[in-house]
């Protein structure tokens, strides 16, 4: 990898790299991905670099080994941009562009600012695709067509409730509890009205869209690469959300008088 001649100060570089790492962390990248991408950019800018990733912050130090003694250290809070594979991919693409196409610092910052303006996927698209995906889960677990329809509708209602509550800035744990409660209760219609041959699969799969898969997977990746603090933080977050959705599911089944086993 060819190094670009270093023309900006270490402070500026540290500032940019910390911003970059905080956005990457916020959009759901693993610690190893954050380290690799940030190191790639730092190397391309011709500076030495180290990073410390904590559950809610990133610390970046940059220094020049050219005898100038120029150094810079920046701390950034993890960006609150929500998990987004689109953002993750664009930020990773930027790091490769800096390394492969030798972008200068100003162009890189400009592109980064443009990436930060990326709009999230439309909420109606996400709502529809999530409902279809959850209905497909129902099929995977052996549900019949009516059970799939029930799961589709219960996911549609539950996920919409989740969107509404998160838009209103309600607590995410309460949101998960309410969404799973309503999804479970609505999908219990299969049992109550006797309209499906596999109503229990409909109830079981109706809350799967709430499973926090990305934090669980990232926690495993972080454990593998010995980022234990981040791994523990992600795992605990995911476990609490899973407990909330389980409580909602149980409450829904209890209130409708459905048998648990």
């Amino acid at each position: 990898m060819e190094r670009i001649q270093h023309v900006q100060g270490a402070d500026e570089t540290a500032f940019f790299l910390a911003d970059y790492a905080s956005w990457l962390s916020g959009c759901g990248a693993t610690c190893i991905r954050i380290e690799k991408n940030t190191r790639r950019i730092a190397h391309a800018f011709g500076v030495d670099f180290d990073i410390s990733i904590m559950p809610a912050h990133v610390y970046v130090s940059v220094w020049n080994n050219d005898g100038s003694g120029s150094t810079g250290t920046t701390v950034r809070k993890t960006a609150n941009c929500g998990i987004s594979f689109n953002l993750n991919a664009r930020l990773s693409r930027l790091s490769w562009e800096v390394a492969d196409k030798h972008l200068d610092f100003a162009t890189t910052v400009k592109r980064f600012d443009k990436i930060r303006e990326t709009q999230p996927t439309g909420k109606w698209e996400v709502l529809l695709l999530t409902s279809l995906a959850n209905a497909s889960f129902c099929r995977l677990f052996g549900g019949d067509a009516i059970a799939m329809l029930i799961v589709f509708l219960s996911t549609l209602a539950g996920y919409r409730l989740k969107q509404v509550m998160l838009e209103d800035r309600r607590d995410v744990r309460l949101t998960f509890l309410c969404a799973s409660f309503f999804s479970a209760a609505i999908s219990g219609g299969g049992h109550i009205f006797n309209i499906s041959a596999t109503p229990e699969i409909a109830v079981g799969t109706s809350v799967l869209y709430l499973i926090p898969g990305v934090p669980y997977i990232n926690a495993v990746s972080d454990i593998i690469y010995r980022h234990y603090l981040c791994a523990f933080s992600r795992f605990l977050d995911a476990t609490i959300l899973t407990a909330c959705l389980s409580a909602g599911l149980c409450a829904g089944m209890l209130i409708l008088g459905l048998k648990w086993f």
């Binding site: 690799k36 190191r39 689109n86 991919a89 990773s92 709009q119 209602a157």
Partner: protein, 63 residues
């Protein structure tokens, strides 16, 4: 009509009325947010943009 059915109707009706009311209120109060480009649902990306691939450039690896 037995009790679970009544409970089901109350829960479903309550949630539906909440969501419909919310949608109607939003429809009448929201403003247009300018000319936003709609995002594409599907895009073709590069594998290496997101995942670690064994065989990445050697000096990019960690001890």
């Amino acid at each position: 009509m037995n009790q679970p059915m009544i409970v089901w109707y109350v829960i479903t009706g309550g949630l539906l009325s909440l969501l419909v009311t919310r949608t109607i209120i939003q429809h009448y109060t929201s403003r247009h947010r300018g000319n936003r480009k709609p995002r594409r649902i599907f895009e073709i990306g590069d594998e290496r943009e997101m995942f670690y691939i064994p065989g990445d450039i050697a000096d990019d690896d960690f001890e």
